[in-house]
C-alpha cells in the first residue's frame, strides 16, 4: 500500500510518475494526477484498444484487468495504480494464440461494431476468475455493467458460458 503522503508529494511535483506493468511490459507514465487510467493508457501509452464509452463508469467499455480484477479504467486515476499489473485487450492473447474467450466471441458473433468488445472481453475474463457466476442468469447479471448497443447480448453470454464450461484454460 502506498501512503497518502507519498501521493501528495507527487501532486506537488506536478506531473506524477506512475510505474505500471501493462500486458507484461514495464511502462512509466508521466501524467498529471487528474488523468484517468483510461486516458493514460490511450493518450499516453497509445494503447487505444480500451474504449471510452461514457467516462462515467456506466457502460463498461473501458473495463480492463488490474491486479487480476476487472475495473473501470475511466473511474480510476492513473496515479492510484502505481505498481499495478494491468492487462488490456491488446494483452489478452498469448502472442498469436487467442485467449479462449476471444475465439468464443468470434465463433458466437458476440459483437457487431466491436466498440464495447474490449471491455466485454476483459469483463468476461474477470468474471470467470471471480468464480461467482455459475448459471446463465448469474452470468447475465454480472455482465450487465457492460452495455452493448448493437444487441450482441446473446452471443456474448453464449461465448462466456462456452468458455466457462470448457473450464480452467487461461
Amino acid at each position: 500500500m502506498r501512503s497518502e503522503t507519498q501521493n501528495l508529494n507527487h501532486l506537488k511535483q506536478g506531473d506524477c510518475t506512475v510505474n505500471l506493468t501493462v500486458n507484461g511490459e514495464q511502462k512509466i507514465l508521466q501524467v498529471q494526477p487528474w488523468v484517468s487510467l483510461l486516458d493514460g493508457l490511450r493518450d499516453h501509452l497509445n494503447l487505444t484498444g480500451t474504449k471510452k464509452g461514457c467516462d462515467h463508469g456506466q457502460c463498461g467499455a473501458c473495463t480492463i484487468i488490474c491486479d487480476d480484477k476487472r475495473i473501470l479504467s475511466c473511474l480510476t486515476l492513473a496515479v492510484m495504480k502505481n505498481g499495478s499489473e494491468i492487462t488490456t485487450v491488446e494483452g489478452i492473447a498469448h502472442g498469436n494464440e487467442l485467449h479462449p474467450i476471444q475465439q468464443a466471441f468470434i465463433d458466437h458473433d458476440a459483437f457487431q461494431c466491436g466498440y464495447c468488445t474490449p471491455g466485454q472481453l476483459c469483463s468476461a475474463i474477470g468474471l470467470i476468475k471471480e468464480g461467482k457466476a455459475q448459471t446463465r442468469e448469474e452470468v447475465k447479471e454480472l455482465m450487465s455493467g457492460n452495455l452493448c448497443r448493437c444487441g450482441a447480448n446473446i452471443g456474448i453470454i453464449d461465448a462466456i458460458m462456452e468458455v466457462k464450461a470448457g473450464g480452467g484454460h487461461e
Binding site: L47, T48, D109, F111, C113, Y115, R149
Partner: protein, 708 residues
C-alpha cells in the same frame, strides 16, 4: 439447391472479427497525430434566446489553453452545407438547450475540460417552446411534400359506416441512438487538404457536407472511417461536431481531437422524436378492413424539419379501400430529430400493430388470422405489384416455430406463481432499394496465387459489410475469402451509397458483383480465347499469366425495379412474463421471422436482426428521455437515467429467414435487414403484455407503473 462451393449464403465468421477482439480495429479517436491538441465543446444552458456575453478571461489564462472559439471569433461557415442540426457557432442565437456555443482547445483533454467549466455565459432569454403536450393541441402542417395528407377512397369518413371500430391514441417517447462510440473526430490539415477521422455511415455524404460547410472543394476533404462504433442513424447525416473539429484544427494550426461526452450525446446528434399517433380502424364483423386512418403529431426543430414517417407501414400492410395518412408537426426548441433505427416504421408499427391487436381482440379473432385475412394483393399506396411479399409466410412459419397454438386468447389466464404469461404478434416492413455505388477490383498474381482487393467507399458500422463483400467477391472471382482484401471507409475510394435505410448490403454487394462480372469479361476478351465453360477471373489470371489487372464498375438499381413495390417483411412473436406484484415485464422469448430476399451471411444477418429485437425491447420497456420543462434540457442525462437494455434484460431471442428469391429489386436479390429488424418488435411486446395482463398500454415504454 445452394451451391456448396459458394461463399455467399454461408454463415462465415466476420473477417474483421480478429481486429475487433484484439483491440486493433481503429475507430476515430484511435488515430494518433503528432502535436495533437484536444478540443472540448461547451453548450448553451438555455433553450431559446441570444448570447449576450461570454466571459472567458479565466479560461484563457488556464494552463494549457491554446484557444477559445465562439461565435465572436470563429471562421465563417456555410450553415446550409448539409450538416444536420445547426449549432455551428455562426451567430449568438440559441434555439435549443445544449446547442454548442464554443470550443476550448488545450494541450490536454483534462485542461480543455477544466477550462470549459470556467467560462460563464450571459443570455437574453426568450420564452422557449418545449411543452409538447400543450403545443400538440395546435400543430402545423409539415413543409415536406411527402408528408402531405394521403387520402384514398373516402378516407377516415368511412369509419362512420363500419360495424366494428377501433379508435385509440398511441404515444412513443424521445429516444436516443447512443452508439457505444460517442461521435468523435480527429482533424488533420496539411496545407489546404483536410483529413477527418470520423465514424460515418455515409462516407461521401460526410465528405461533401464537411467540404460545403467549410467552403472548400470535396476533393480537399478526406473522410477515414474503416470502423464505426455503432451509428443507428446518428452517424448518417453528420452534425456540427465534425466541422467544428476541422475549424478548431485550422484555427490553432495543429491536429485536433474532439470527442463528444456521453452527456453531450443527448443533445448533439439528433434523436428519435416523440410521436402521438391516432389510429382509427373500421372493419366488418368478419374482420375485413374498411378504413384505416393513421394521424401523427411530432415535433421538429424551430429552424429545420425532420419528421419520421410513422404512417409508412400503414400505407402498405393491409388491404383496405379507404385510408388516411397524415402528419402534423410542432416546432420546438429542441435539437433536430433524425433517422433512428427503423425511422417511422418502428414507431408507426407500434401504433398500427397494437391497433390491429385491439381489433382482433374485439372481434374475438386470432390476430394472425386477422392479418392474413387483410393481406393486400398489391401495394395499395401506389397500385404497383409486389416484387414479392412474405408476410403470410413469416406469420405461418413463425407461428409454428414459436408454438403460437399454446397462446391462451383470453388475457390474464396464463399464470405461473406471481407471473402472468402472454404471447403477442406483430408484423413489420421496410422498403428494399439499391442505390448508386461504384467498386474497383484489383487482381494480382503472386507465386501462382491470385489476390483481390476490393475498393469501395462503403461503410461497416458493425453490420458485416466487410464480410459480405469478401464473400461476394470470392464467388464472383472464384477465389477463397482469405485471398480477398476489402478496403472501405475512405472517401478516396470509389463513391458508394451509405449504410442507411437498409440500402447498404444491396448497393455495395451489387456493385462488387457487377465489378466481378466486368473484370471476368475483360479478362476473357484480353485472352482472345473461346471457352466451353466460362472460366473465373482467378483462373484467367493464372492461365494467361497476368500479373495485375483491375476494373471499375458503376452500378445502379435495375430500371425494372421501379415498376414494383419491393419490401422486406417480418413477423414478430413475443412471450412475456409480467410480475403481477412488481409490474416488471420480462421478454422471455422472442422470434423474428424475416423475408429479406437473399441472405448473404446468415450468421451476421441473424446478429443484425437480433440487434433489432434488442432495440425493440428497449423501445418497448426501458428507453425514454424526459425534458425538464423548466429549462428545456433533458432530465435524463446519462446511462443511469436513460436505460438501454443490458445483458440481464435479454431473454431467449431467435431469428429465422424465409427462403425468398426476389431478383426484381436488384440482381443479387438482396433486400436489407438493418431497419426491418426493429419494426414490429415493440408492438409484439405490447400485445404480449396485453395478452398476459389484459392491460393495453398505449404509451411506451411499458414501465411497471403503467401496469400496477
Amino acid at each position: 439447391m445452394e451451391d456448396s462451393n459458394k461463399s455467399i449464403g454461408k454463415g462465415i465468421n466476420r473477417i474483421d472479427g480478429i481486429l475487433k477482439i484484439t483491440g486493433k480495429a481503429t475507430y476515430a479517436t484511435d488515430y494518433p497525430a503528432k502535436n495533437m491538441a484536444y478540443a472540448v465543446l461547451f453548450k448553451s444552458t438555455i433553450a431559446a434566446g441570444k448570447i449576450k456575453s461570454i466571459e472567458s478571461t479565466e479560461a484563457q489564462k488556464y494552463p494549457g489553453v491554446i484557444k477559445i472559439i465562439t461565435h465572436e471569433n470563429i471562421l465563417p461557415l456555410n450553415t446550409k452545407g448539409g450538416l444536420r442540426g445547426g449549432a455551428l457557432l455562426q451567430s449568438p442565437e440559441v434555439t435549443f438547450h445544449g446547442q454548442h456555443i464554443g470550443i476550448v482547445v488545450a494541450e490536454t483533454f483534462e485542461q480543455a475540460t477544466a477550462a470549459a467549466h470556467l467560462i460563464t455565459v450571459e443570455y437574453n432569454q426568450k420564452e422557449e417552446k418545449i411543452d409538447f403536450d400543450n403545443l400538440a393541441k395546435t400543430p402545423e402542417m409539415p413543409k415536406g411534400k411527402e408528408l402531405a395528407d394521403l387520402v384514398r377512397g373516402a378516407g377516415k369518413s368511412a369509419l362512420a359506416d363500419a360495424e366494428v371500430k377501433i379508435e385509440a391514441s398511441y404515444e412513443t417517447p424521445i429516444e436516443h441512438h447512443h452508439p457505444m462510440e460517442p461521435h468523435a473526430t480527429v482533424a488533420v490539415w496539411e496545407g489546404d487538404q483536410l483529413t477527418l477521422y470520423n465514424g460515418s455511415q455515409i462516407i461521401n455524404g460526410a465528405q461533401t457536407a464537411a467540404a460545403a460547410t467549410l467552403n472548400i472543394k470535396p476533393e480537399q476533404v478526406r473522410i477515414i472511417s474503416p470502423f464505426i462504433g455503432g451509428g443507428f442513424g446518428s452517424k448518417g447525416g453528420q452534425w456540427a461536431n465534425l466541422v467544428l473539429t476541422a475549424v478548431a484544427a485550422k484555427m490553432v494550426g495543429r491536429p485536433v481531437k474532439l470527442a463528444l461526452t456521453r452527456q453531450q450525446m443527448f443533445n448533439s446528434v439528433g434523436l428519435r422524436q416523440r410521436n402521438i399517433q391516432q389510429l382509427s380502424i373500421g372493419a366488418t364483423k368478419e374482420g375485413k378492413l374498411l378504413t384505416l386512418a393513421h394521424e401523427t403529431i411530432s415535433h421538429t426543430a424551430v429552424d429545420s424539419e425532420y419528421i419520421e414517417p410513422c404512417g409508412d407501414c400503414t400505407k402498405v400492410m393491409y388491404e383496405v379501400p379507404n385510408s388516411l395518412i397524415s402528419y402534423r408537426v410542432v416546432p420546438m426548441n429542441l435539437i433536430l430529430p433524425t433517422y433512428t433505427r427503423g425511422p417511422g416504421k418502428s414507431t408507426g408499427s407500434f401504433a398500427l400493430e397494437s391497433a390491429m391487436d385491439e381489433l382482433a381482440y374485439t372481434l374475438k379473432m386470432d390476430p394472425i388470422e386477422l392479418r392474413i385475412k387483410n393481406e393486400p394483393a398489391k401495394d395499395t399506396s401506389n397500385g404497383k405489384p409486389w416484387s414479392s411479399r412474405t408476410t403470410v409466410k413469416c406469420l405461418q412459419e413463425g407461428a409454428k416455430a414459436f408454438g403460437w397454438a399454446k397462446r391462451k386468447p383470453e388475457p390474464g389466464t396464463n399464470k405461473i406463481g406471481d407471473d402472468l404469461i402472454g404471447y403477442g404478434v406483430a408484423c413489420g416492413t421496410y422498403p428494399a432499394r439499391q442505390r448508386d455505388s461504384s467498386a474497383v477490383i484489383k487482381l494480382s498474381l503472386k507465386n501462382k496465387v491470385v489476390y483481390a482487393t476490393i475498393e469501395i467507399a462503403a461503410s461497416d458500422l458493425g453490420t458485416g459489410t466487410n464480410t459480405i463483400l469478401a464473400q461476394t467477391a470470392a464467388d464472383g472471382l472464384g477465389l477463397p475469402v482469405k485471398q480477398i482484401n476489402v478496403k472501405l471507409g475512405d472517401s478516396d475510394l470509389p463513391p458508394a451509397a451509405g449504410s442507411v435505410g437498409s440500402v447498404g448490403a444491396s448497393s455495395f454487394a451489387n456493385a462488387v458483383n457487377d465489378a466481378c462480372i466486368k473484370i471476368t469479361d475483360e479478362l476473357l476478351a484480353k485472352s482472345g480465347k473461346q471457352f466451353f465453360v466460362r472460366p473465373t477471373a482467378a483462373q484467367l489470371m493464372i492461365s494467361e499469366y497476368i500479373a495485375d489487372f483491375q476494373t471499375r464498375s458503376d452500378s445502379k438499381a435495375p430500371a425494372e425495379a421501379e415498376k414494383y413495390s419491393a419490401h422486406s417483411f417480418n413477423a414478430n412473436f413475443a412471450e412475456v412474463r409480467v410480475n403481477s406484484v412488481t409490474g416488471m415485464v420480462k421478454v422471455t422469448r422472442f422470434l423474428a421471422v424475416t423475408g429479406a430476399g437473399k441472405i448473404l451471411n446468415p450468421k451476421t444477418a441473424r446478429s443484425q436482426i437480433i440487434g433489432g429485437i434488442v432495440w425493440g425491447i428497449g423501445m418497448a420497456l426501458t428507453e425514454e428521455s424526459i425534458i425538464d420543462p423548466r429549462y428545456g434540457n433533458f432530465a435524463t442525462r446519462s446511462f443511469a437515467d436513460y436505460h438501454v437494455p443490458t445483458n440481464l434484460d435479454i431473454g431467449d431471442l431467435d431469428a429465422m429467414f424465409i427462403n425468398e428469391k426476389d431478383f426484381i429489386p436488384n440482381k443479387m436479390g438482396v433486400k436489407g435487414i438493418g431497419e426491418v429488424g426493429i419494426v414490429g418488435v415493440a408492438a409484439a411486446v405490447a400485445n404480449a403484455v396485453f395478452n398476459a395482463t389484459g392491460k393495453r398500454v398505449r404509451s411506451l415504454p411499458i414501465t411497471p407503473d403503467k401496469l400496477l
